[in-house]
């Protein structure tokens, strides 16, 4: 299984995402923003960072990159795509997911281990979780406040597209504590927290058992392998 990891100018977490892919048992393929060729990958991760320096709006310029044209086309045909943090912003700006992300309500950058509830497991990236499983994933962002129009929000909630909700405190003022979303088909998922930072004992969030032992993020990458095997 080949999972592409896109690098835009200003991407930070592409190496971590590629490492997470390998730890889950897949091959990580580097994809370059200016290259429309996505090298026949089976899935794509849009990693976190500050693509194009967050110019114009977070993710807005990356959404216009040549590689995104191809990813948008393939995502609409069912290619699994995971957007993490800035990658989530790119998905929203690409209209693969609805709504928008604005500066945190309290106006501070926040970095902490964040509790999440997995509210939808019928996606390519969450099928290895159990419904309503509570997980801990590192969060680090300045513009993670999710918003959508009232009608859009009602639709998201009505159709069960909210995939992750913050628990133990809303870190950024996101409406309805929304931390992540899926599309109707379930192949596209975006979230603000960083699962690729919780994949290896010794480097993840703290747990009740031991410091830095949290590996809840690995299940995102295991999920997509399940989805690809069963496809």
């Amino acid at each position: 299984m080949k999972i592409g990891v896109v690098t835009f100018p200003g991407t930070l977490d592409d190496r971590d995402a590629a490492r997470a892919v390998r730890l889950a048992g897949a091959e990580a393929i580097s994809l370059w923003h200016a290259d429309a060729d996505i090298k026949k990958v089976d899935a794509v991760v849009l990693p976190g960072g500050f693509s194009y320096g967050d110019y114009l709006r977070c993710g807005a310029i990356a959404a216009q990159a040549p590689v995104m044209k191809e990813i948008i086309k393939k995502a609409n045909q069912g290619l699994p795509v995971l957007g993490i943090c800035n990658g989530f912003q790119v998905l929203v700006e690409s209209h693969l997911l609805p709504g928008g992300l604005i500066r945190n309500e309290h106006q501070h950058f926040i970095c902490r281990d964040q509790g999440l509830r997995v509210e939808n497991v019928d996606t390519a990236w969450t099928n290895a979780f159990s419904l309503n499983q509570e997980i801990t994933i590192p969060l680090k962002n300045g513009e993670g406040g999710y918003i959508a129009t009232k009608d859009e929000l009602a639709r998201l909630e009505g159709e069960g597209l909210v995939t992750f909700r913050y628990i133990g405190g809303n870190p950024n003022g996101s409406v309805n504590d929304i931390a992540g979303l899926r599309n109707e088909r379930g192949n596209v998922v975006g979230l603000m927290p960083h699962p690729e930072h919780a994949v290896e004992p010794g480097f993840g969030p703290d747990t009740a058992t031991a410091m830095r032992s949290g590996v809840d993020g690995l299940l995102f990458f295991k999920s997509v392998l399940n989805a690809l095997v069963n496809a």
């Binding site: 114009l56 709006r57 807005a60 216009q64 700006e93 609805p98 709504g99 928008g100 604005i102 500066r103 309500e105 106006q107 918003i147 959508a148 129009t149 003022g173």
Partner: protein
Amino acid sequence: MPKIIVEVMPKADLLDPQGKAVANALHRAGNKDIAAVRIGKRIELHFEREIKDADIEKARQLGASFLSNDVIEDVVNVHVEN
């Protein structure tokens, strides 16, 4: 150089952190009559030729599709300056 100006503002009902921070600083400096500050963007599209109606129409389209995000912002003005 002729240019088309596209002005984008955060939606009125959304928090504008930049505006709020600037308003706080102005208040600290004694400008108590300034009730609020909101900060948007002025985007200049420069042309090396005369601007046609089609260019303005195109600028409106780009304003709605790329230069702003209608979930969080409004294009409040598109006009030509020579």
